[in-house]
Amino acid sequence: MPVRFIIYAVFIWVIFLYGAVNFKKFAIPYKLLILLLGLTFVSELIGRVLIVRLHNSMPAYHIISVIEYTLITFIYSFFFTGSVKKLLLYLMIPVISFAIINTVFIQTILEFPTHFILLAQGIYLLYALIGFRQMLLFPIDKPLNKQSFFWLNTALLFFSTMLFLFFGLLNYINSHNYDVRPLYTFSYVINFLYYAFILIALTANKKECHFSQLHEKH
């Protein structure tokens, strides 16, 4: 098992543990985020087991990507109100349907579900941008670095844009038969930074004393 994977898995585990220990102190969306961290950790481990046993970890990606999309949508539904919230929730039906169709007919269970992952990342990017817009529309008297919603949006914006870059480069490198190893190292860096932002968001929310509920009301 590669060392960088072990470090990566331990990093997710530590953040999840931090969330689980302080679980009661977080607002509901951040509780869902902790759940997502736990499930991501489990899916990464399952992926590794599948690689050893079947030499293919793709089934784990098919499942976790749908779970991730569902949980992130629910997380953001707590921050948005009105028509945006409704759109977010109603959009889940066609998006999840597409994920199922993709897994059954297009990119089967042993292939990497790029179609769905790219669609989901596009949606996360949209969530982050709407989140930033909402922050601008309803500013609050609190330093930005202490606002968990800012860090959550930053994490998603960063991760989804970087993932697009990753896939773009991957396509290019594959088509030119270059070595993909540096790119995988790059993907680990993206992941580490993403989870670091998530950790900052969790720390900020813990200090906020359920500030998110006030934000929603506001």
């Binding site: 500013p139 914006l157 970087m162 870059l165 070595d179």
Partner: protein, 278 residues
Amino acid sequence: MKNIDLKNNELYLVFFSSTFFFFCLSLFIIYFILLYQKKQIKYKQEQENLQSAFRQELLKAQNEIQEQTLTYVSREIHDNITQVLSFVKLNLAMTGTLSKFEKAQKVDESRKLVAQAIGDLRDLSKSLSFEHIVKLGLLKTIEIETDRINKSGIVNVDFVVNGNTYPLGDQRELVLFRIFQEAVNNSLKHSGANFLKISLEYSNQIFILTIEDDGAGFLNNDLQKEGSGLKNMQSRATLIGAVLTINSDIGKGCCIKITIDPLLQQVYANANYPNSTR
């Protein structure tokens, strides 16, 4: 050699494209932070303006209450106490020519009148200054006011309280009382009503103050044309986070309803309230 060049190319590609992306992303975040700070300053200014408007309105309401109290006190002294004391003076002046029994009767009568004047003066001393509202609370103050109106005999006032009472905060209660006072004054002066119903409803989610009369009423469309009194009441209600609705029709009286969420807190209002966010 060619292989090394290719590897270098791959690394450069990854390095430059990711640097470019990071740069764009950082630029976006920096732009957002700057924009947010600008909005934050604007928001703070708005809050300060609201706070200042609230303070001004509160001061205005206090002055108006004081003014009304002084008018009431001066009218009471002129119309009631002075008359009673003049009568006592006349009574006592007449005693010189009277028999002992009649003198005793006049003195007794004068004693009763003086006692009445003392009572009236005591009532006057309890007049409704804003310090009294803060001290007694909204419920007791409205109760005293309705008693006073009932005693005056101008209209019959029915006062109803539902639910378990709770404080709404000094400043909010003061503004609510001023709205109440203005609504009652309008009814007494302009509506020609014979009956007034005042009700206070306390529930966990909402507080409702209703002032209803059976007077001449007016068309709801005329609200815009009405004097600044009704608009004043509405803007005051908005300032404390309340909603004021007016329902009226010609010949059907008028009903003014002020609803407020007791848990709603405005940053600029009421630091004394126990559940205040400040």
